[in-house]
C-alpha cells in the first residue's frame, strides 16, 4: 500500500502529498468521532490516488454533514438541506457521470428525515460512497435520540429510548444495496480499508460508521459511546484493499481468504473472523447481522458486496460525454428537426 513505511512516499500515485486532500479546520467538538472519519476519508482518497477535482462531496444537515468542508478542499461540495442529500447526489451523478461522488450524512439526516430518499437512492444503485456518521443522536440540535438509537439507550438527562433502532445495514441488505459496510470511528484501520473499497465500487457503497458524539452520547448507558462500541464491536473479517495499480504482496490467495474484484480492477481480500462469513452471500449477511443485533453485538466489516450490479448511470443509458459537458449541438436539435415537428402537427 502507498502508506506503508517501506514505500514511504511523500506523494501518492498521482504525485500529490496528503495535504492536498485536506479540508478546512473542523469546528466540531474535540474528540468527536466525525473528525476521525474525516481523516480516514482523507487518507483513503490519498492512498487510492484519486484526483481531488474528480470528487464531488455531498451532505445534508448536522454535525456530520458539516464535515465535507473539512476534507478535500480541492473538490466541489454541496451541503444541502436536512435529509435530502440522496436526491441531490442522484442529480449530480446523472449530470456528470465522470464524478466520484462522496456523501456524508448523519443518522438523523439519513434514518429519520431522510429515510425515504435513502431507500430510493439504494434502490437505484446511484454511484456514490454514502457514509453515515452514526452517533444515535442529533448532535447539532443538542442530543435528542435519532432513529438509530437502540432500545434501552439512555440520554445524559436520563431519558430512555423505548423505540427499536433502525439498522441501516440491515435495511441496505434487505434492499439489495450493492455494497453494505459497517465500521467504527475507533477502528481507523478497518474504516480506511472499507472506504478505499467503497471508492472502487460502482454503485451505492453504503458505509455506516459508529461515530460517538462526545458531547451528548458518550456516557455510560449510551450504546453509541466509544467504550460501548469498543466492547461490542465484532468484525466479521479483516479486510485488505489492493488498488488496481498495485501488485498484491502475496500473489497466492490462501484458502480461507475471499477475494473480490471491484469495478476498477482493484481487489478486496477478506479473511473471515466469523467462520465462513462470505460477504457475497446476501442471505447469510442478513442472518448474521440480525443475530448479532439480537445479541447486542456491533458487526463490522463489508457485510455485503455485489460489484456486478448495474449502477444507475448505466441503467439510464447516458451518453459517453457527461451531460454537463455536451456541446450545444448535442443539446439542441437542428432547425430542420423543428420544421419537421411543425409539419407533423398540421
Amino acid at each position: 500500500m502507498a502508506s506503508t513505511p517501506e514505500a514511504g512516499p511523500k506523494v501518492n500515485r498521482i504525485g500529490l502529498p496528503i495535504a492536498e486532500y485536506k479540508g478546512g479546520k473542523s469546528t466540531l467538538c474535540g474528540g468527536c468521532g466525525h473528525d476521525v472519519i474525516t481523516n480516514a476519508l482523507v487518507r483513503a482518497c490519498y492512498e487510492v490516488g484519486l484526483e481531488p477535482e474528480r470528487v464531488a462531496k455531498f451532505s445534508g444537515i448536522g454535525c456530520s454533514s458539516k464535515t465535507p468542508a473539512y476534507f478535500l478542499n480541492r473538490a466541489h461540495g454541496f451541503n444541502g438541506v436536512h435529509g435530502r442529500m440522496p436526491s441531490v447526489v442522484t442529480g449530480a451523478a446523472l449530470a456528470n457521470k465522470g464524478l466520484v461522488c462522496v456523501g456524508v450524512s448523519g443518522d438523523g439526516d439519513t434514518a429519520s428525515i431522510g429515510m425515504g430518499q435513502f431507500i430510493h437512492l439504494v434502490r437505484r444503485n446511484v454511484p456514490v460512497v454514502y457514509v453515515v456518521e452514526n452517533n444515535g443522536v442529533y448532535g447539532l440540535t443538542k442530543g435528542q435520540f435519532s432513529a438509530t438509537a437502540d432500545v434501552g439507550s439512555r440520554l445524559k438527562t436520563g431519558v430512555l429510548n423505548d423505540l427499536p433502532a433502525v439498522d441501516l445495514c440491515g435495511l441496505g441488505i434487505e434492499l439489495g444495496c450493492s455494497f453494505v459496510a459497517r465500521s467504527f470511528a475507533g477502528d481507523v484501520k478497518q474504516l480506511t480499508e472499507i472506504l478505499k473499497a467503497a471508492l472502487a465500487h460502482r454503485g451505492t457503497a453504503f458505509v455506516d460508521v459508529i461515530s460517538p458524539c462526545v458531547t451528548f452520547n458518550n456516557h455510560p448507558g449510551s450504546t453509541k459511546s466509544y467504550d460501548y462500541a469498543k466492547d461490542h464491536e465484532a468484525p466479521v473479517h479483516s479486510i485488505e484493499f489492493i488498488p488496481f495499480f498495485e501488485h498484491p504482496m502475496i500473489e497466492q490467495v490462501p484458502g480461507e481468504v475471499i477475494e473480490v474484484e471491484m469495478y476498477d480492477g482493484s481487489k478486496v481480500r477478506f479473511r473471515p473472523v466469523e467462520a465462513e462469513y462470505d460477504p457475497r452471500d446476501r442471505h447469510g449477511a442478513w442472518h448474521h447481522l440480525s443475530e448479532a443485533n439480537a445479541k447486542g453485538e456491533i458487526l463490522t466489516g463489508i457485510l455485503f458486496l455485489d460489484p456486478a450490479k448495474p449502477d444507475f448511470d448505466s441503467l439510464v443509458n447516458l451518453a459517453d460525454t457527461p451531460l454537463a459537458q455536451l456541446a450545444d449541438a448535442q443539446l439542441r436539435p437542428p432547425r430542420e428537426a423543428l420544421d419537421a415537428i411543425n409539419a407533423s402537427l398540421r
Binding site: N79, R84, G91, Q117, L323, Q325, P333, L345
Partner: protein, 610 residues
C-alpha cells in the same frame, strides 16, 4: 403570441344558420373511448381551417364518471371559452337531462333514443339517435361496441355540421396512427352515423362548419407536449419528475419525443436523463444537484408538488443554482380539484420557501409561447443562477390548442457565467459570489473542472463572497441585497409584457397566462358596449417597468385571473403601492377555463360601481 392572430371574416349567413360560430358540448362517461371521438371532431375542424378550441373537462378518476368536451368554433379568431353551448351530444345517462336543460335556446341536441329525452324541451331541436343499434350494425365485436358508439355520434355531427368526409377520415387516420384495423372500424362507425343522419334528420343543421382557406401553417397541439419540445430544444439535459395531473403529460411527451431528437447518433446513447423520482422533494433535489453539476435541469409538477418543493426552492435561491420548475396549475389548495384549471399558485410560487425569496415566474398563454417560455426559462435560470418557474395551467397544459408554428430558438443556448479550467488558469482563482460585473451575478464553476482552484463549497447556510461559512450580519445583508438586485436588474432576461394602448381609454386591463384568451374577447365586447380599454399582458414576474407605466396611465386597472384572492393583483399592489388603489381584481375560479362572460361581467360590474 399577439392578440387575435387568427381573425377571419365572419361566416354568419341568412336564415339563422350559424357558420363557424357556435359551441358543441359532448357529454360522455370517462374511460369509454369518447376522447378519441372528440379528438377526431376537433382535428377535423382544425384541418378545415376553422378557428377552434377544444376543452376537455374530465373527472379525477379513471373510468365511469361524467366528462364533457367542449369545442368552440369561432370566426373572429377568439380562443376564449364561452358559457353557453349550442350543440349537445348527450351520451351520459347520468347527466343527460341537466346537460339538455343547459343547452342554449335554439340549440341542437343529439341524444341516445334510449334516454327518452325527446320531449324534454320545446325550444331546442332534439335528435334521438339509436346509437346502440347503429354501433351493433357496424361492429360485430361486442366488446368494442361501446367504443365504436362514440364514432357514431361523430358521424351524426359530421352530417349535421357539414364536416368534410375526407378530413374526418384523415383525422381518424391520425388518431389511430398505425392501427389500421381500428381505423377501418372507426371510419365505418362514422359512416354509419352519417348515413343514419342523412336518412333520418333534416338535410342541414342550423349550425354549420365551413372550410377557411389559408390556414395551412397552423399547428394543433396539447400545451404540455409543446413544453416538452421546448425542453428538448432548450437543451434540457436532466429532467426529474413525479407523476401528477395535469403535469404528467409533459414528462410523458418528453419520454416519447426525446429519443428521436436527442440520441447521440454515434453511440445510440441519450444526451439527456429523465428520472421518475420518488416524490417532488426528490425531483427538485435531483434538479438542483444536476444544475449545480452543470446540467440544464428541469422538473414539472402541480400545486401539491410545489408545496413540497418549498424548502429546496429556498436552497436554490440562496445558493444560486440554475433550475427550472414548470407548475401546471390545478385547483387547490390541497388535492382540490386535480382535473380542473386555476392560476392559484402565483403567490406561492413568487415567494416559495420560508425567509425572503423572490423567484422569477413566466406565464405562457398558448402552446407556441409555452415552448418558447421553457427555452427562455432554461436560459434565464442558467444566466441568473436561480430557480425559474414556468406558471402554466391545466387549461394550457392538457387541452389541444391551435397556434402558429414553433419558432426555432433565436439565439445560441445561454449558459451564463461558467469558468473553465483555462479561465481559472488565467485568473488564478475566483470568488463564487463576488459581483465583479456589477450585475449581481457571480461566476461559477462546475464539479469536475480540472483545476486545483476550481472548487467551491456550496451551502444553504450563511456564506461570504468566497463561499466560506459566515454568520456575520453584514455578509448576510450584502448577500440578500445582491440576490434581490440580481433578479430585479436583469428583468430583460424574462419575456416582456405585451401592451396594446388604446388612446383615451380610462380603463386598463391586465391578464396573464390562459386568462388572456377570454380577456381579449371580453375587451372587444366591452368596447362595443362603450367601454374601450387598453391592455397589458403580463408574461413574467417581477414586473417589467412597462407594467407600472401601464397602471400609471390608466384610471382603473382590472387584473383578470383565475384564483380566489386576486394573487397577481396583490403582487401588483405591492409593486406599485402608490398606484395600488387603481388596481382592481377580477378574479374568478371555478376550475373551468375562464369564460368571456366572467371577464366581461366582472369588469362591467365594477365599472358600473366605479
Amino acid at each position: 403570441m399577439s392578440v387575435n392572430t387568427l381573425a377571419e371574416p365572419s361566416h354568419d349567413t341568412a336564415a339563422g344558420v350559424r357558420v363557424n360560430d357556435f359551441a358543441i358540448r359532448v357529454a360522455t362517461v370517462n374511460g369509454t373511448g369518447s376522447q378519441s371521438a372528440n379528438q377526431v371532431l376537433l382535428r377535423t375542424l382544425f384541418q378545415m381551417g376553422v378557428t377552434v378550441t377544444g376543452k376537455n373537462l374530465f373527472p379525477s378518476n379513471i373510468a365511469g364518471l361524467p366528462t364533457w368536451f367542449t369545442i368552440r368554433l369561432n370566426p373572429r379568431g377568439y380562443f376564449g371559452s364561452k358559457r353557453e353551448y349550442d350543440v349537445l351530444v348527450a351520451f351520459n345517462p347520468e347527466t343527460a337531462a341537466e346537460d339538455l336543460d343547459n343547452l342554449a335556446p335554439g340549440g341542437t341536441a343529439v341524444v341516445d333514443v334510449k334516454l327518452k329525452l325527446g320531449g324534454r324541451r320545446a325550444d331546442v331541436t332534439i335528435h334521438e339517435v339509436p346509437f346502440g343499434e347503429l354501433a351493433a350494425a357496424c361492429c360485430p365485436d361486442v366488446k368494442l361496441r361501446k367504443l365504436v358508439a362514440n364514432m357514431v355520434y361523430v358521424g351524426v355531427l359530421a352530417h349535421q355540421l357539414g364536416l368534410e368526409a375526407e378530413e374526418v377520415e384523415r383525422a381518424i387516420g391520425r388518431q389511430f396512427a398505425a392501427k389500421s384495423k381500428a381505423v377501418e372500424l372507426n371510419v365505418a362507425a362514422v359512416r354509419a352515423g352519417r348515413e343514419w343522419a342523412a336518412s333520418h334528420l333534416p338535410p342541414e343543421g342550423r349550425f354549420r362548419a365551413a372550410r377557411v382557406p389559408g390556414r395551412s401553417e397552423k399547428i394543433l397541439i396539447e400545451g404540455n407536449a409543446a413544453a416538452a419540445y421546448g425542453a428538448i430544444f432548450g437543451g434540457a439535459s436532466v429532467v426529474a419528475w413525479y407523476p401528477i395531473t395535469p403535469s404528467s403529460s409533459f414528462a410523458e411527451a418528453l419520454i416519447e419525443h426525446a429519443p428521436g431528437l436527442r440520441t447521440d447518433p454515434a453511440t445510440g446513447k441519450a444526451t439527456y436523463a429523465i428520472v421518475q423520482a420518488e416524490d417532488e422533494l426528490a425531483a427538485l433535489g435531483m434538479v438542483l444537484g444536476a444544475g449545480w453539476a452543470g446540467a440544464r435541469a428541469l422538473t414539472a409538477t402541480s400545486g401539491p408538488g410545489i408545496s413540497l418543493m418549498a424548502e429546496f426552492a429556498g436552497l436554490g435561491y440562496f445558493t444560486e443554482i440554475p433550475a427550472v420548475v414548470i407548475d401546471v396549475q390545478r385547483v387547490g389548495p390541497s388535492t382540490g380539484m386535480p382535473t380542473r384549471t386555476s392560476q392559484g399558485d402565483v403567490l406561492s410560487l413568487a415567494y416559495l420557501s420560508h425567509g425572503d425569496t423572490q423567484h422569477p415566474l413566466l406565464f405562457p398563454a398558448g402552446p407556441r409561447e409555452y415552448f418558447a417560455d421553457v427555452v427562455a426559462a432554461l436560459d434565464a435560470a442558467a444566466v441568473l443562477q436561480t430557480p425559474v418557474f414556468v406558471a402554466a395551467d391545466l387549461d394550457l397544459g392538457m387541452n389541444f390548442w391551435m397556434d402558429d408554428p414553433f419558432d426555432y430558438p433565436p439565439g445560441p443556448i445561454a449558459h451564463g457565467k461558467v469558468l473553465s479550467a483555462e479561465d481559472l488558469g488565467k485568473l488564478g482563482g475566483f470568488s463564487r459570489y463576488l459581483d465583479i460585473d456589477g450585475d449581481g451575478i457571480g461566476y461559477r464553476t462546475v464539479p469536475g473542472t480540472p483545476h486545483p482552484k476550481a472548487a467551491y463549497f456550496l451551502r444553504g447556510s450563511g456564506h461570504t463572497e468566497q463561499a466560506t461559512y459566515s454568520e456575520r450580519g453584514d455578509d448576510y445583508e450584502k448577500l440578500m441585497a445582491r440576490l434581490k438586485r440580481k433578479v430585479e436588474s436583469n428583468l430583460h432576461l424574462l419575456p416582456a409584457p405585451i401592451v396594446e394602448s388604446v388612446p383615451g381609454a380610462e380603463v386598463g386591463v391586465i391578464a396573464y397566462g390562459t386568462s388572456h384568451w377570454a380577456t381579449v374577447e371580453a375587451r372587444d365586447r366591452l368596447a362595443a358596449a362603450g367601454t374601450p380599454s387598453s391592455y397589458l399582458r403580463v408574461r413574467s414576474w417581477p414586473f417589467a417597468p412597462a407594467v407600472r407605466e401601464f397602471v400609471a396611465a390608466h384610471e382603473r386597472v382590472y387584473v383578470v385571473e383565475q384564483n380566489r384572492d386576486g394573487q397577481l393583483a396583490q403582487l401588483l399592489q405591492i409593486h406599485a403601492p402608490d398606484l395600488a388603489s387603481r388596481v382592481r381584481s377580477v378574479a374568478h375560479c371555478d376550475g373551468l377555463p375562464l369564460t368571456v362572460e366572467a371577464v366581461e361581467e366582472g369588469i362591467a360590474q365594477r365599472e358600473g360601481s366605479a
